[in-house]
């Protein structure tokens, strides 16, 4: 096992990790603002992956180009869900919220199963067979594209929360919902927008992930769990934390897969989660509650 193999595995893990990070960002935003744990996150990503799959096979639109459309579609889905359903459940205990999102997840997964069947599907782009070589590194072209796009979307999101009025208002809701209401913000509307942004993130991530993995309906719960691992590693509510967590999980998956056994990779991710929960429950970049 030589150094270049090791470096290639590491860089692939790093790039995949950025896409994971984008997916987890959506989860983090939703939890950070509304304290809702989106147990249907992976299911929404599978919806996005199938949407991108259809766009490519039926219309010939490549996933990166389809991304704005799919993300927009998932924004609408998330907005409506929050506005008309989840909003009623904001004050209730965690397990009821959990069950509500779980029932949404059950409905989505089985609708996907009905429409697309249980088989794994993937797409072949011309770029799938190309790669860049940088010094000793050989990087898959699609992986590089996916990672950079994910980074770009994350940067856009950061700018949105930092510089726009709506973004600032959402941060105000997250800090103090009662205060936000007192100063006249439409909290329900902002919550719905936030949920929409969260699902749009996962929509974007789904498009990019389709470049890297096959899609089938049962992926959903794995990715929901993966999302949780990532946000807790990085720190819930922290944008940088979600990306960092994504990269860590991407690295740990790639390294454990290459060095030990691919089937053991999720064990290492969960091991990381247990360690972080016990040593630093607020996450690596999270603030102390």
């Amino acid at each position: 096992m030589d150094a270049s193999f090791f470096m290639n595995v590491t860089s692939a893990g790093l790039l995949t990790g950025l896409v994971y990070g984008l997916m987890a960002l959506g989860l983090s935003v939703i939890f950070g603002v509304m304290r809702v744990v989106n147990f249907a996150h992976g299911d929404m990503m599978v919806v996005a992956m199938y949407a991108a799959f259809l766009m490519f096979t039926k219309l010939g639109v490549e996933p990166v180009m389809a991304l704005p459309v799919v993300a927009g579609g998932l924004f609408v889905l998330g907005y409506l869900l929050q506005r008309f359903l989840i909003n009623r459940f904001l004050g209730v205990t965690e397990h009821i919220q959990f069950l509500l999102l779980l029932s949404i997840a059950i409905i989505i997964t089985n609708a996907m199963l009905m429409v697309f069947g249980p088989d794994a599907r993937n797409i072949q782009l011309e770029a799938s067979f190309e790669s860049y070589s940088v010094g000793p590194l050989i990087l898959d072209k699609v992986r590089v594209i996916a990672a950079f796009t994910a980074g770009g979307v994350a940067a856009l999101l950061w700018a949105f929360f930092r510089y726009t009025t709506t973004g600032t208002a959402i941060r105000a809701c997250a800090d103090n919902p009662i205060g936000a209401r007192v100063v006249g913000l439409n909290v329900e509307q902002l919550y719905a927008i936030t949920f929409g942004i969260g699902t749009a993130c996962v929509g974007a991530a789904g498009c990019l992930l389709l470049l890297l993995v096959d899609v089938h309906p049962h992926l959903s719960s794995d990715y929901t769990l993966l999302g949780f691992i990532i946000v807790i590693l990085g720190g819930l509510g922290s944008l940088g934390g979600a990306l960092l967590g994504g990269i860590l999980v991407g690295l740990s998956e790639a390294l454990s897969g290459a060095l030990i056994a691919p089937s053991l990779k999720s064990m290492f991710s969960f091991g990381l989660l247990i360690l972080v929960l016990l040593l630093r429950p607020q996450g690596i970049l999270g603030k102390k509650p």
Partner: protein, 330 residues
């Protein structure tokens, strides 16, 4: 009357009537009905076990498949390798489960991992163990562990080899035992302490309740009860796969009935199991009639959502009120 049977008590009368009905059931029910009833009772039993931790003490576990799996694998593997009777194997399984539960509880509670985070910690341990068992050759790894199916001529309750009706009575006894045990717990001082912790942990702490110790007891009891259910699953199904026994789907299935039925109540897990199984079976039949396969699960999700919207506290508290049992049956 605390913890004892009082025949003028409405809940006791209700329970006894139900029990007699259930004891006579195998005489009338066919094979299909009997298997459904075993499913219901098993779900009710596992739901009760989870209820001790979540419903009574308010600690949210989403990883109870861990204890099901440990109980199943301990008793199953000991039986396959050494011929150990399942009831002894179950004791071993309970021991292992209690060890795991103590570890998870001690780590989680000491480090103040609470609510959703605690639930995720329990998932993490369950998934971690699942992958571990997937690679552990002695228990068959991912290709599964199979219990020898032989000696079907007569029912052997000590070795748990026999007919479906034997399994029915075993699980019925477990449900009845679980119910009485839960009721005893709830009516004792420990039950009141747990409820205080569930409602407001800081206030309970301020009153001088040893919160850490009581939460640990809840987790340990719940884990031990659950792993006994795991033993039943192992001997009833005769095959074990880490993929299914430790899966998060099992953890979720296990808690659905109790939440739908009514968390923290005694009848909730039973009612929830009946409702969900009836719903599932009814939708399967309906789906076959209509001829659309996937519709069942979608309708199942929609019904769950409807119950949550209409009766967020669960069905039993509502039904109890309608039956005029308020104040009597918990």
């Amino acid at each position: 009357m605390i913890g004892s049977l009082n025949f003028s008590d409405q809940s006791t009368r209700l329970l006894l009537g139900l029990l007699i009905l259930l004891m006579l059931a195998p005489l009338m029910a066919g094979d299909y009905m009997l298997s459904i009833m075993i499913t219901v009772l098993l779900q009710a039993y596992l739901g009760m076990s989870w209820n001790v931790m979540m419903g009574f003490a308010g600690q949210f576990s989403l990883g109870h498949a861990l204890y099901v799996g440990l109980g199943a694998y301990a008793s199953g593997a000991l039986f396959v390798h050494f011929g150990t009777p399942p009831w002894l194997g179950a004791v071993a399984g309970m021991g292992v489960s209690v060890a795991f539960a103590s570890m998870i509880g001690a780590l989680g509670f000491r480090f103040k991992v609470m609510g959703v985070y605690f639930a995720l910690l329990t998932i993490a341990f369950a998934e971690f163990t699942r992958v571990l068992f997937d690679h552990w050759g002695w228990v068959g790894a991912s290709s599964g562990l199979f219990l020898p199916v032989s000696n079907r001529s007569h029912d052997d309750i000590w070795l748990l080899r026999g007919s479906a009706s034997m399994f029915y009575y075993v699980i019925l006894a477990m449900v009845a035992g679980g119910f009485l045990f839960s009721r005893a717990l709830l009516r004792r001082r420990i039950g009141f302490y747990w409820q205080a912790i569930r409602e407001n942990e800081d206030a309970a702490d301020a009153l001088g309740i040893d919160v850490f110790r009581l939460k640990m007891i809840a987790v340990i009891i719940s884990a031990a009860m659950t792993s006994l259910g795991g033993m039943f699953i192992a001997f009833f199904n005769n095959n074990l796969y880490p993929e299914s026994i430790f899966s998060m789907h099992r953890s979720i299935e296990l808690i659905l009935g109790t939440i739908i039925g009514g968390i923290g109540t005694l009848f909730g897990p039973i009612l929830g199991a009946v409702v969900l199984t009836a719903l599932g079976e009814g939708l399967t039949i309906l789906g076959e009639k209509i001829g659309i396969d996937g519709i069942k699960q979608i309708a199942y999700g929609a019904c769950m959502m409807a119950i949550l919207i209409l009766k967020p506290g669960g069905l039993w508290p509502w039904l109890r009120h309608r039956l005029g049992l308020d104040g009597g049956a918990k």
